[in-house]
Amino acid sequence: MAKACDNKKPPEVEIQFYLNQQFISVSNPNPTETLLDFLRLNLKLTGTKEGCAEGDCGACTVLIGKINEYGELVYRTANSCIIFLPSLAYCHVISVEGLTGKSGELHPVQEAMIEASGAQCGFCTPGFVMSLYGLWLKGSKPSKQKILDSLQGNLCRCTGYGPIIEAAFKATKAGSISRKGSTLQQRNWKNKLTKLMNGKESIVSEIPKSFSLPRTILELKTILSHNKEGTIVAGSTDIGLWVNKSFKNVKPMIFIGQIDELKHIKIQNDKIVVGAMASYTDLLAVLPRYFPELKQYINQIGGDQIRNMGTIGGNIANGSPIGDLAPILIALGAKMALVNHVGSRKINVESFFQSYGCQDLKPGEFIRYFEIPLKQKTDTKFRVYKVAKRRYEDITTVSAAFYFEFFAERQPIVRFAFGGMAEIPKRALTLEKVFKEQASSLDQDLIISKAIAMDFSPLTDCRGSSEFRLKLAQNLFKKFAMYVNEGIEIDIEKGP
C-alpha cells in the first residue's frame, strides 16, 4: 500500500500474565484472540478443549487467578473460548496441564475422577477437572447443591454425571492438608502478580489502534471520548459470541476489567450500590443477604464460569429482551449512573431500555454503577421467577420479578417486570393496575390473562410459543398472588 509511513516504530504493547508456572508476555496481541486458541494453537497446550466456542459446554474451562478490588488473590473458573487475551493482563491462568505436579503426581481432583470413573469419552473431562479444582479451592465438604452449582457450566454426554458428582464428594473430602500448601502457594502467586502489576501504566495499544486497558474511571472517560465507537468489554460472555459466531468487528475494544473502582458493591444507607463490573458471582455474595429470593434466581443464570465472568453492567448494557437481571432491577426500582467525560446522569433502569437493541446510552457513555433501594418494610412482598427449557444454564423463556410494598397511609408500590415477553424487559402496567385495584372479580384468571395480553404480545421462537409465554406470565403472577394472599409457595426445588 502506497502510504507514506514515518519510520517511528510505534510502541509495543505487552499483555503479561502467568500460565501455570510460566510467565507469558504477548506483544501487540490481536485483541480478539481467545485464550483457548492461544493455548491450543500457539502454545500447543491441547488439554483444554473446544466444545462449542460460546461458553456453554465448559470443555474449555480454566481457572483465572486475579487480585481483586480488595487486594485478595481469587481463583475462579472461566470459559477460555470467550476470553480475549487482553483480559488476562496480570492474571494467573491455570490450565489442566498445570494441575499435575512436576513429577507427574496427580491432583486430588484428578485422583478422585479416576477413582470414581468420572470419564467415558474423556473430551469434557479436562473441563470438569478444572471446575472441580475451582470447587476444591473453595474449601472442604461442599453440600450437594454447591457441587451441582459448580458443575452447571459443564456438559457431559456420556456419564450421566453420577461418577463426576461422586468424584466431587471424594475430592473435596480429601486433600485438606495439601490445600494448606496451596494457601502458601497462593501467597506466593499474589506477590508475583502484584509485582507484575505494580508501576505499570495503563495499556493503550496504538497499532493497530485496536484496544486499551484503562486502570481508572478517569482513563476510561478519556479513552471513550476519543473512541466513541469503541466496544466496552467487561466479562465478554456476550462479545465473545459476537466475535466467535457472528464475525462482528468489535474493534477498538476497551477492556474495563482492570478498573477496580467499577467492581465495588457497597451498602449506603437505604440502598446497595453495585459497580457495573460486579460479576454474578460477586452479586451472589451480597444481594441474597438483602433479597434472599435472588439466590436461586442468580444461580439459574449461566453456569459457574459464566457467573464468574458475566457482569451486571454487561448484562444491562447489551439490552437483551430477556435481560436476566433487568426484570429484577426494574421491579426493585433500581437506578443506574451513566458517565462520560463531560458529566454524569442517573436514570431508572426501566427507562434505559427503549426498544429492541436500542438503549439510552449515548456515544462515549458507560455504566458506572447501579443503585438498588433496600426494602422499606419487612413485610414487603418480592418474588422472582425464571422459566427456561432447562432449569439451569439456559436462556430464559420468561422471567418475572414482582415487587409489592403496602402502606396504610399511601399508595402501595407495585412493580411487576417481565423478561422474554416483549422486545425489551418491561413492566406489566395493566397487570399492576389490576392488582392495585384488588380486582375481586369472580373470574380472576380471566382478568389476569386479559391484563397480561394487554401488556404483552410476545414472540414465538425456539424457546417457546407466544401462547406459552402468555400462559407462563399469567401463572407466574398467580404464584406471586398465592404467596401474597395465602403465603403459599409453589417450588419444585423445595418439593412438596
Binding site: 459446554c57 496441564e97 477437572v129 454426554r157 407466574l476
Partner: protein, 778 residues
C-alpha cells in the same frame, strides 16, 4: 436411607472387581489425544465448508469474489471439481452428494469448500460467498396431511402377522390416536473432524473421528477415484459418537481428502459447533398413528400402526432405522394380530441418521403409548396392562417379524424391580398426595425394555482382531471396533488379558486402522464387544493354544495342566514368567501373533417377507421413575429412579453401569428438554448448546439407583455370556416420560390420557394440562 441404597448399588459393582477405562489417567490430565490435538506439520492447511442458507430451491449463481480474495485463501472448489463420484450415500442409493451446485435440499447443505492457511481464514471466507437463488417452499412436517406429494427416501417395511382387520373388529374395545416424537442431536462433545495427509503416489492417510473407518476409506476412494488399498483410515478415539459418527463423518473426511488431493498438503477440517449441528443428521422425529383393539382385562387383540419418520433429504440409514422402529414397536408385548408400516418420508431438512437405539426408541414409545391408552381407557394401572401383555411361552412368544422370544426375562426383571423400588406403596402414596395437592403433582411409572441385538443388515455382524505377542512378553491388540468412550477397548483388553493370563499394564491397544483389519463394520448397534471381543478372544486363544502345544512338547506336560495367570505360566509345580515362555517359543519358531474372525451365528432376515431371525438375542431391563411437577409452569424434577438392567454376565460392571446411567440420562434428555426447532422456512434454530439443552448434572435424578440383574446369563454363546449394553438402557428413560404423563393426568383425576408428545418440554406439559382440563369440562 436413600444414601444407603445408593452406596449399596455402587458396592455391588465394586465387589465384582472390574477394570476402569484404559484411558482415564490420560483423560484427567488432558493428555489423551483427539484428532484436533495431534501435532501436524506447520504448513497444514485448513478446509471449511460453504453451506446453503436456505432449505429448498435452485441456485442460479454463486459469486466467489470475496471468498477468493480473502487473505490466506488458497483454493476454492465445488461439485464439478470432485475427481471421482460425487456421492457418499452409505447404502448405495446415490442420493447424497458431497457438494451440490444447483438444487438445494436443506438448510446447511454443503455447496463449496474453501482451503486456507488457517482455520479462522477458511471459516470466515466460507461465509462470504454471495448466493443467488430461487427458493421454494420446503417440506418439513411429516404429519401434514395436506402434502400428498411427499416422497419416500427408501422402500417402506411392512410387518404383518395374523389378521389385523378382524382382530380390531373383533375386539371389545378400540382406541386410536397419534403421537409426535421429537428428534435429538447427538451432541458428542468432540465435534466432527478429519485430517488427510498425502502419502506416496497419491495415496492418503486419513484421521477421522468416525465410528466406521472402513466406510470412510471406501468413500474417500470413491470420491477420489482411487482404490481402497490406497487409503488408510485411522481412529484413536472419538470424543463421543452415539451414532452421529457412523455415516456423518464421511462428509468431513472426503472433503479433507479432496483438499489434500488438490493441494498436496496435509489438510484439516473441523466445523464449528453450530455448523456441525446444522450440517449433520440427527435422530429421526416420528409421527405415529395407531389403532389398538383389546379386551376388558386389557389384553391386546390387534394393533395397526403407521410410523412416519422425518428422514431429511436423503436416505442415509433411514431404511434400517425405520425397520428397527418397527422391530421395537412390540417392546415386551405380544400382539396376536398386528400390522406395522414404516413410512420413511423425505423432507427438506438435514438427512437424519443413526443415534443410539437406531429407531428402536421411537418404536418402543409407540408400544408404551398403546399400554397407556388401554390403561386410561379401562382405568387400570399401566403396570397391570403391561404384565398381562408380556411375551410368554408358546404361541405368545412370536414377534411381529416371526422371531420367537426364547430368552424372555422381562417378567422376572419387572417383578424384582416392583419389589425393590416399592412401586405399589409409592404409587398409592403418590395418588394420595395428588388428591391433596393442587399445584404440585407427582407421577410414577415403571416401563420395561426388550431390545434386539444384531445389525439387521445381517452381513455387518462380523468382526476381526489381531493379537501380537512380542518377545518381551508385551502384547498389542488391534481390532475393527472404534473407541468413543463406551469402553470397548477396555473390555477387549480384559478379554485378551484373561485368555493369556497377562495383566493389563502389559497389553496395549493400537488405533483402529483399516490397513490392519479390513472390511470392518461400524462400531454401532451395541455390537462392539459382542463382535470384536469375540474376534480378539479367538485370536488370543490361537496364540495360547500354540503356547500350550509348545510347552506340552518341550516340558512334557499335559496341556490341561498349564495355567496362564498374572504374567506367569504355571505347570508342573513351576512358575515361569510369561515373557520367558514367549521368548522360548519364539526361539522355537512358534507364531506369536494371530488374527481372529467372528460372525454371529443363527441370524437371518428376509425383508421382503418380513420374516426371519434378525436378532441373535434380546437385552432386557426396566426402570421406575418418579417426578414432581409444577402445574403452573410445566417444570418438573425427576426425583427418584430405580433401574434393574440385564447385561448377561457382565464383562465389566464399571463400564456397564456407566453405559446404563449415561444412556438413561441421554434418553431422559431426548424425552424432556432436548427440542430441535426448525422455523417455517426450514432453518434450524437450535444449533448450539445455548439453544439446544442436553441434561446437566442438576438434572440428574435426586436419587438414582442402578443395579445389574446379576443372575442373568445370555442363553446364546456370546463372549463370556455377556450381553450388549450400548443402546438398551437409553429406552429405560421412557419411564420418566410416563411418570410425567401420570403427573399431568392427575390434574383431571386420571380420567383422560394426556397423550404427551415428546420432548415433554414445560410448554408441551402446560399445553397438555390445559387440553385435558378443558376436555374434562366437556
Amino acid at each position: 436411607m436413600k444414601v444407603k441404597k445408593k452406596s449399596k448399588a455402587v458396592t455391588s459393582a465394586k465387589e465384582l472387581k472390574s477394570e476402569k477405562h484404559e484411558s482415564l489417567k490420560k483423560f484427567v490430565t488432558g493428555r489423551a489425544l483427539y484428532i484436533d490435538d495431534m501435532p501436524t506439520e506447520a504448513e497444514t492447511l485448513h478446509a471449511y465448508i460453504g453451506k446453503s442458507d436456505f432449505a429448498r430451491g435452485t441456485i442460479s449463481e454463486i459469486d466467489y469474489k470475496d471468498v477468493n480474495s480473502f487473505p490466506g485463501v488458497i483454493d476454492v472448489f465445488t461439485a464439478k471439481d470432485i475427481p471421482g463420484i460425487n456421492d457418499i450415500s452409505p447404502t448405495g442409493m446415490n442420493d447424497e452428494p458431497v457438494l451440490v451446485d444447483k438444487e438445494v435440499s436443506f438448510f446447511g447443505q454443503p455447496l463449496f469448500v474453501v482451503i486456507a492457511s488457517t482455520r479462522a481464514q477458511a471459516r470466515m471466507a466460507a461465509s462470504l460467498a454471495r448466493i443467488r437463488k430461487e427458493e421454494k417452499e420446503p417440506f418439513l412436517d411429516v404429519s401434514d396431511k395436506h402434502h400428498k406429494d411427499y416422497k419416500l427416501v427408501t422402500e417402506p417395511l411392512i410387518l404383518e402377522r395374523g389378521n389385523v382387520t378382524e382382530g380390531l373388529s373383533g375386539s371389545k374395545n378400540r382406541v386410536s390416536g397419534n403421537m409426535h416424537i421429537g428428534g435429538q442431536d447427538h451432541f458428542y462433545l468432540e465435534g466432527h473432524i478429519a485430517i488427510a495427509k498425502p502419502e506416496e503416489s497419491g495415496d492418503l492417510l486419513v484421521f477421522s473421528s468416525t465410528q466406521h473407518p472402513s466406510e470412510v476409506q471406501h468413500m474417500v476412494a470413491k470420491v477420489l477415484n482411487l482404490s481402497s488399498n490406497q487409503i488408510v483410515v485411522r481412529v484413536k478415539r472419538m470424543g463421543g459418537g452415539f451414532g452421529g459418527k457412523e455415516t456423518q463423518s464421511n462428509l468431513f473426511a472426503v472433503i479433507a481428502a479432496i483438499s489434500t488431493h488438490r493441494t498436496g498438503k496435509t489438510v484439516k477440517i473441523r466445523p464449528d459447533r453450530d455448523d456441525d449441528m446444522i450440517m449433520t443428521g440427527k435422530r429421526h422425529s416420528f409421527f405415529v398413528e395407531y389403532k389398538v383393539g383389546f379386551n376388558d382385562d386389557g389384553q391386546i387383540k390387534a394393533l395397526d400402526a403407521q410410523l412416519s419418520a422425518k428422514c431429511g433429504y436423503s436416505s442415509d440409514l433411514s431404511g434400517p432405522i425405520t425397520d428397527r422402529a418397527l422391530f421395537h414397536s412390540d417392546n415386551c408385548y405380544y400382539y396376536p394380530n398386528v400390522r406395522l408400516v414404516s413410512k420413511p418420508v423425505k423432507t427438506n431438512t438435514v438427512s437424519n441418521t443413526a443415534f443410539r437405539g437406531f429407531g428402536g426408541p421411537q418404536g418402543m414409545l409407540l408400544a408404551e403409548r398403546i399400554i397407556q391408552e388401554i390403561a386410561f381407557f379401562l382405568n387400570k394401572d399401566t403396570l397391570e396392562i403391561r404384565k398381562i401383555n408380556l411375551y410368554a411361552k408358546g404361541k405368545r412368544s412370536i414377534t411381529p417379524y416371526y422371531q420367537k422370544v426364547t430368552d424372555n426375562i422381562s417378567e422376572r426383571i419387572i417383578d424384582e424391580l416392583v419389589r425393590s423400588s416399592d412401586y405399589h406403596t409409592r404409587k398409592k402414596e403418590i395418588m394420595n398426595f395428588n388428591t391433596g395437592s393442587q399445584f404440585l403433582k407427582r407421577g410414577i411409572a415403571l416401563t420395561p425394555v426388550k431390545f434386539g441385538i444384531s445389525f439387521t443388515a445381517t452381513w455387518f455382524n462380523q468382526a476381526g482382531a489381531l493379537v501380537h505377542v512380542y518377545t518381551d512378553g508385551s502384547i498389542l491388540v488391534n481390532h475393527g471396533g472404534t473407541e468413543m468412550g463406551q469402553g470397548l477397548h477396555t473390555k477387549v483388553l480384559g478379554i485378551v488379558s484373561s485368555v493369556l493370563g497377562v495383566t493389563l499394564d502389559k497389553i496395549g491397544i493400537s488405533d483402529t486402522d483399516t490397513s490392519k483389519i479390513a472390511n470392518t463394520s461400524a462400531t454401532a448397534a451395541s455390537s462392539g464387544s459382542d463382535l470384536n471381543g469375540m474376534a480378539a478372544f479367538f485370536a488370543a486363544k490361537k496364540i495360547r493354544r500354540r503356547l500350550e502345544n509348545f510347552i506340552s512338547k518341550k516340558y512334557k506336560v499335559d496341556k490341561k495342566d498349564i495355567l496362564f495367570t498374572g504374567n506367569s505360566v504355571i505347570f508342573d509345580g513351576q512358575e515361569y514368567a510369561f515373557s520367558e515362555i514367549v521368548r522360548n517359543a519364539y526361539m522355537a519358531r512358534v507364531q506369536l501373533w494371530d488374527s481372529g474372525f467372528y460372525r454371529t451365528p443363527k441370524i437371518h432376515w428376509d425383508r421382503k417377507k418380513g420374516k426371519g431371525r434378525p436378532f441373535y438375542y434380546f437385552s432386557y431391563g426396566a426402570a421406575v421413575s418418579e417426578v414432581l411437577l409444577d402445574v403452573l409452569t410445566g417444570e418438573y424434577r425427576v426425583k427418584k429412579v430405580d433401574i434393574l438392567h440385564d447385561v448377561g454376565q457382565t464383562l465389566n460392571p464399571t463400564i456397564d453401569l456407566g453405559q446404563i446411567e449415561g444412556g438413561f440420562i441421554q434418553g431422559m434428555g431426548w424425552l424432556t428438554n432436548e427440542e430441535l426447532y426448525w422455523d417455517s422456512l426450514g432453518i434450524l434454530k437450535t444449533h448450539a448448546p445455548s439453544t439446544y439443552k442436553i441434561p446437566l448434572a442438576s438434572d440428574r435424578p435426586d436419587d438414582f439407583n442402578v443395579r445389574l440383574a446379576d443372575w442373568a446369563k445370555n442363553t446364546e454363546k456370546t463372549i463370556k455370556r455377556s450381553k450388549a449394553v450400548g443402546e438398551p438402557p437409553f429406552m429405560l428413560a421412557i419411564s420418566v416420560h410416563e411418570a410425567i404423563t401420570m403427573a399431568v393426568a392427575s390434574t383431571c383425576n386420571y380420567k383422560i390420557n394426556p397423550r404427551l408428545n415428546t420432548p415433554a418440554t414445560s410448554e408441551i406439559v402446560l399445553e397438555s394440562i390445559g387440553r385435558i382440563q378443558s376436555e374434562n369440562l366437556v
